[in-house]
């Protein structure tokens, strides 16, 4: 006990790691190992088409991470995320294909452009309250639709444009990492991006910036009077979310090699909302789990329409037996997921996990109480 007191008061004596801190380090190393194994092991395990789907999952997770910060942390319900993803996608497709920009330069440009546009949107948004903001963000989707369709020299109009730009940095081709196929490489690249952004989002959540945003979400006026520059943080959250969205757009374009205005429409917006709601809106892990579950499930069902049990339930063309056409089913599935999760576990999968953890912890406590009780009886 005495040593502890001394180490606290005397800065020259470094505190010895307590058991708690040591277990924290062990946990961190373990987590890093798991992530690394998943990141590099998965490409060896799955076929290319599955890896392509998983890479798309990563892009959707990335876009959703922007919403984690904007909607989850700062409480600003925005539907406009696909607009910023679209801006990132078209910008990189145009400059990458037409002007042969290096992908590293593209990344920087796209992130900066997304951030600036997001900050501009934030400037308008700070004047609006919750519901108006949601509606005005729908307006942004409408503007995107117009812009992407109309600015034909850049976007190719409604038929879209090629996005087959080179992913080479120096000698390293990100689409063909040493010893890997295109799908394997892009899987690694996209999930690495998710990992980095998720770490940033996690850091924000635990630090001053994130606390300020959550304070705004919880009680905007109190946050203001406590000394938080609400305007600045809202604009910052918009800028960051949009920058992340634009980065997701670059990867989306790189994956799909072709983009059209339909990729960034209202349905995509709802898909993103479903992802963050299902996963858990205010945790980075929620965005990742939500993307895997929602987008993964949608892709899985569409590629298994002809096998049991979907062959009986879903029809894949006119005259085919089934309760529902496959396309309608995907709409149905997204809607139903939203309803079920909101009613049953508004914190999403992450909340479910937390609840299970609390349940287990309460067993622990119960067990300890029983043990204490027994000890008392014996003594």
């Amino acid at each position: 006990m005495a040593t502890v007191v001394r180490s606290d008061t005397d800065p020259a004596v470094r505190p010895r790691p307590t058991p708690a801190r040591r277990s924290g380090v062990v946990r961190r190393v373990l987590a890093a190992a798991v992530v690394l194994v998943l990141l590099l092991g998965t490409p060896l395990y799955f076929v290319d088409s599955t890896l392509a789907t998983l890479a798309y999952c990563a892009v959707f997770a990335l876009g959703a991470l922007g919403l984690t910060i904007l909607t989850g942390y700062a409480g600003q319900l925005s539907i406009a995320q696909p607009f910023f993803i679209g801006v990132g996608a078209y910008l990189s497709a145009y400059l990458g294909v037409e002007s042969g920009w290096n992908v590293l330069a593209l990344t920087v440009l796209v992130v900066v452009a997304g951030g600036v546009l997001g900050a501009l949107a934030g400037l308008v948004a700070v004047r609006l309250s919750g519901i108006e903001l949601a509606i005005v963000s729908i307006a942004l989707i409408a503007f995107g639709d117009y812009l992407f369709n109309q600015w034909k020299s850049v976007t190719g109009g409604e038929n879209g444009r090629s996005a087959a730009f080179s992913l080479e940095i120096g000698g390293l081709d990100l689409a063909a990492l040493p010893g890997m196929t295109r799908s394997q490489s892009l899987f690694v690249v996209c999930w690495t991006a998710v990992l980095l952004v998720a770490l940033v989002a996690r850091a924000i959540r635990r630090q001053r910036a994130g606390r300020a945003m959550m304070a705004i979400r919880e009680h905007e006026r109190a946050a203001e009077v406590i000394g938080i520059d609400v305007r600045a943080y809202k604009i910052g959250a918009f800028a960051l979310a949009s920058a992340i969205g634009a980065l997701a757009g670059l990867l989306y374009a790189a994956l799909q090699q072709y983009i059209t205005p339909l990729d960034f429409d209202l349905n995509t917006a709802v898909l993103f909302l479903a992802i963050v709601v299902v996963g858990g809106v205010d945790r980075p892990l929620g965005a990742v789990l939500g993307a895997l579950l929602v987008y993964g499930a949608v892709q899985w069902v569409s590629s298994h329409v002809d096998s049991w049990p979907f062959d009986a339930l879903l029809s894949s063309f006119q005259g085919d037996a089934g309760l529902m056409p496959i396309g309608s089913f995907l709409t149905f599935f997204t809607g139903l997921l939203l309803i079920v999760v909101l009613l049953w576990e508004p914190q999403g999968l992450v909340g479910l996990g937390a609840r299970a953890k609390r349940r287990i912890a309460s067993w622990d406590v119960a067990a300890r109480l029983r043990r204490d009780h027994r000890d008392e009886e014996t003594s």
Binding site: D8, V200, A203, I204, R206, Q207, R208, A209, G210, R211, A212, M214, A215, E218, H219, R221, A222, A223, E224, V225, I226, G227, I228, D229, V230, Y233, G236, A237, L240
Partner: protein, 264 residues
């Protein structure tokens, strides 16, 4: 070391605040000297909370001046007023519900830190270090005010009485030199009120602070205030030491129209 006469002093002169032509505050002047506890009393709708909102920059006055430390507060944004050392609590507790007590205190220290979004993105360790630097101080605050047990509880899970205290501690963590307390004992029972009075004394000893408080609980006011300022319909009724004000017939008339005030 000579101290400027305006240091720690809240000075309001001729303050008028109106909404849509209705004057909520009408030519109000008051002063709270450094280290003093000034109680502001008056019936509901007298403009007390509006006064606080105007001091903290939520509302802009039609005319008049508000100065603290000799600096004018009019026209400043709330966040910049906080940086001048003004902290407040709220009539209906305004904590951040789904955050822990600990995080609420850290939010209270917001203006004392520098790291922002960019820090978290580019140098997250610097932000972590900044948080760590406050750990000892906040730990000590928690134990001083008997909140060790609820350190990581969510505020929304805690009872009202505890939350009133958390809010006070959050205000203390802001290291204010002017502390505005809006009905600090509202919703507390007698025991809790007594406890709160004690905690307020602790806070006073820790901080070199001027306090203005809005309160309906007269025994609490009479025991903790150095001076009382009475508002009614947005106008000053009177101002003076507790005993004097409590005996003023105009106050008795304005305040619920009973003699209860003086009787206690």
């Amino acid at each position: 070391m000579s101290v400027a006469p305006s240091r720690g002093k809240l000075h309001i002169e001729g303050l008028t605040v109106a909404f849509g032509g209705v004057k909520v505050l009408d030519d109000v002047s008051l002063t709270a000297d450094a280290g003093e506890v000034l109680a502001i009393i008056g019936p509901n709708g007298a403009g007390k909370t509006t006064l606080f909102n105007t001091i903290t920059g939520v509302y802009a006055p039609q005319s008049g001046t508000v100065a603290f430390d000799g600096e004018s507060l009019v026209g400043r944004r709330p966040s910049s007023i906080v940086r001048l050392g003004v902290a407040r609590t709220f009539q209906n507790v305004a904590l951040f519900g789904s955050m822990s007590v600990w995080d609420n205190l850290l939010v209270g220290c917001h203006h004392r830190m520098r790291s922002g979004i960019a820090t978290s993105v580019f140098a997250p360790w610097r932000a972590t270090r900044e948080d760590r630097a406050l750990t000892a101080e906040l730990d000590e605050l928690l134990s001083t005010f008997g909140l060790d047990d609820v350190r990581s509880s969510l505020v929304s899970d805690l009872p009202h009485g505890i939350n009133k205290r958390v809010e006070l501690v959050r205000a203390v963590a802001m290291r204010p030199r002017l502390l505005l307390l809006d009905e600090p004992t509202a919703g507390l029972n007698t025991l809790e009120t007594a406890e709160f009075a004690e905690h307020l004394q602790v806070a006073r000893r820790r901080l070199d602070v001027t306090i203005a408080l809005i309160e309906h609980d007269m025994p609490f006011v009479l025991s903790s205030a150095d001076r009382i300022h009475v508002l009614n319909f947005g106008r000053t009724v009177t101002s003076g030491p507790p005993a004097e004000v409590a005996a003023d017939p105009r106050v008795i008339e304005a305040y619920l129209g009973t003699t209860e005030v003086a009787g206690r």
